[in-house]
Symmetry: D2
Subunit: 284 residues, 4 copies
């Protein structure tokens, strides 16, 4: 049997305790793995430890042994851990409404290899982006808003299962998702909110910002939860508001912030750099 080298990313989080880094690196070394990249952080405020390690390993024994030895190591440590194989390109579903600046950004950067995933489908409550989707070779599904949200989400769920979607990006999708849907995709739905959360939650955040007279506006990528705009924040950015701006200028400036925050947030997710802890994220 031919042995080839594969790359894995290990994520660990647990209460802080002694010997974690050495224990884990030793364990990987003993299994014949070569560590490529290692980051760790101890959040002293909450007494918690987070580690992300990228390692290479030949298929066969080593690759199979590591999960077992980590499971043993984790036993008495209240440890959460996961291993992701880099060969398995994740399948991401895109949800979009009419505004397409985030959609274009994701499609172009994925095409250029800057976002490392496959977009397995585009789902929209409007038919507008059918042609754009097909020009990028991606299946498009028009699932219109109805009186019956359950029906709509059930149709969506069928598509996601068919397409084997592993996560969802809401690229300016102007529909509120149900509790059961967000629970089913916990920490797997990345939304872009066009306000600098926790300020300006809900509708028309740029109008809220203009009326409040803030001097900077921003956007926030966060995991969608049942409570609107309350999920763990993934990434944020802002820009200064020119002194003579009208609301329409804020909307225009905001579009550029939104798309770059969403792209960066998705990149952190795909590189397994995000650790959700008590409704906030830690990034390694």
């Amino acid at each position: 049997m031919h042995k080839s080298l594969h790359r894995y990313t290990l994520q660990i989080s647990c209460p802080d305790q002694k010997g974690l880094i050495a224990g884990i690196t030793n364990l990987l070394h003993s299994a014949g793995a070569n560590i490529i990249d290692l980051n760790q952080h101890t959040a002293t405020d909450v007494d918690s430890f987070f580690l992300r390690a990228v390692y290479e390993c030949e298929n066969g024994e080593g690759a199979q042994v590591i999960p077992k030895t980590i499971a043993e190591f984790a036993l008495d440590k209240s440890m959460q851990w996961d291993i992701f194989k880099s060969d398995l390109i994740p399948k991401i579903a895109l949800f979009v409404s009419k505004t397409d600046h985030c959609l274009y950004e994701l499609l172009l950067k994925q095409r250029d290899g800057e976002i490392k995933c496959n977009f397995c489908c585009i789902i929209s409550n409007h038919p507008d982006h059918q042609k754009l989707a097909s020009s990028f070779g991606i299946d498009f599904f028009y699932v219109p808003s109805t009186q019956n949200r359950q029906e709509q989400e059930s149709a969506i769920t069928t598509i996601l299962q068919d397409k084997e979607a592993e996560a969802i990006v809401l690229a300016r999708y102007m529909q509120i998702l149900s509790d059961s849907f967000t629970r089913a995709w916990k920490n797997k739905i990345i939304n872009i909110h066009h306000g600098f959360l926790p300020a300006f939650q809900g509708a028309r955040p740029y109008h809220q910002a203009w009326e409040k007279g803030v001097k900077m506006i921003g956007a926030t990528a966060h995991f969608a939860t049942a409570e609107l705009d309350q999920g763990p924040i993934i990434w944020q950015d802002v820009e200064q508001v020119p002194n003579t701006s009208a609301v329409s200028d804020l909307v225009k400036i905001g579009k550029d912030i939104e798309r770059r925050v969403l792209v960066f947030g998705l990149t952190l997710f795909l590189e397994h750099r995000l650790f959700v802890f008590q409704n906030r994220t830690f990034i390694l």
Copy 2:
């Protein structure tokens, strides 16, 4: 009588209407004034016009005529206007508690001619900065917190009158001012809040920010009003939070944001660039 050239700043705000710029510049020209700098902005969202003009004028007739002709011009236009003579360096009172990074910043930049005012006194509820004040040649007044806020503010008011203070800068002054005090100094008290308003109002904003997991922190210079942290925003800035920050890092990063936001806000005020309108500011 010797005629010498003096510089003035004119501030005008009114509902938008035709011929305002030409009317005003024509009026200044006819009075023999030379316009050095002119900015104007029409906020179409609220149908309002703002103008700031800096002009030079010999003392004597011209200088006296301008206020009169503007008063006439303003008559049927619901216009608010003011003229400030540049020779009259404003006297500003500094209020401070224990933290001194904002105080040092203001004192050093004023010494270097980068903040164009005189600091007429430093008032504090702690005796700590007596020596620093005297090393910069500024009178220091220790007005301790007492059970009786009215008494404390009455003592402060006496000092401000004695020192002929025209405005107040709260350089991290950790005392809440009364309704009557803030009303007496409406749009004349510049406060620095160590949070990116309207988020994180009230106490311990960096702790609030850390717990919410925001990825950027900021500070806000605003006019103090009776409602805590609700006054018109003057200036804001933010910085990215390093991924591995603890609350203590946020406090440290925030100190630099606070002092630069406060200095810039005070500069805008001293250059008569701020127009307060419906609890927000416009900047020219």
Copy 3:
């Protein structure tokens, strides 16, 4: 004859002297024009005055009178001036090679009304972007590189004349233009250089930056002149280089800087905010 309101932008630059603003605003007012927006700047270092005024005027007498009275006013003032009618949407030619991130950015933002011009043609030394051009309804011309640059530029000039192009945007066009071509289009060719000029001129600026170990990389929009990367700088921006970046990361980060600097530079040009003076630009 029906009278309708038209909008114009007036640009003036001249040696600094007294009464310029009042003179010009008075002149506009007398001709029945309504000033919408006025900016001016006196660059004391070079003793020069720059003014930009946007005014509205009914067609007919007023509109015709203004150029004449400005010409008179300008007579003894070494003044350069120009008037642009807002109704006349400028025709801009796009030049591009293989890389398409700047091209997409310009096409999408023009489509969304954020860049106010018409792209009259796309000229490329590669056939790749034919399909993209036609999907945006823009004529595409493939003018391959040849031994004979004169021939190539002659073919390009014919297209530009046919299409009545008024200015050119080099959206990552990897061909060097001749002296005669850049002279013919003086201050009308906007190029994006992927380095923070004046550092890193010429080829492979990101590689140069990496080798020099700079901690920030940038891009520069400038007017193309015969001397490579030496023309007047229009706009610049930078981003911090992550500590662990490879050259390939710099290239990726740089793409986002390039497109936003190019869009902003073009916007300044289209809004007649740029004044070229002694190989630098002033912006109003």
Copy 4:
């Protein structure tokens, strides 16, 4: 003998090869050390590996064993390494001329515990800052410029030896240091240059920037070498130049950039995060 816990920082750089992280962490673990913080980076462009590890260790055997085992481990790996004990607060000499904004910044932040070192002396070619130095309890030495640079540097060297200085910060020190002096303190002299290197080397960088018409200005912290402004860059930052700036505005804006770049550069140095490699620095 009482055993107490001490903290150390290990720096390693070498050509990239397999098993480095596991080898080092295993070695530390075997010696009874507890790893607190570990960062590493493989610069694939130059095939080099950099590691920084902070570990805790009881005094006695472990602390003594680690250097020996690392020396063995390093033997056949072309490895450079160093260990710094956190208890040993480094002694830093400050050099300054007349301008004091960087000096104040360093003194205040060191006082507040934000810069973790002792400033063992202030050396100046002007007598101006004697009083400031003494108010912070630091010895001040006035070493005037003379015809004979060798004499001046010899006097400085005597002071540095007396004060046991381990590194030098040039906080706007307007004297050129000799080849022999910079060689003696290789990678130990941190200078702040008020230009965004490699552009604007040498004198009057803000004037150079203004004349070139750049839209952003910056400052650069770098290690001083014999060649002026050519040493390895440590940190840089920039700010946008307001459109209507004069040179004097650039100087004013620049002061804030200079002091924050110098503080951050010194912090990176004191935390042993800098790796000098082929005239550039890598930061972990």
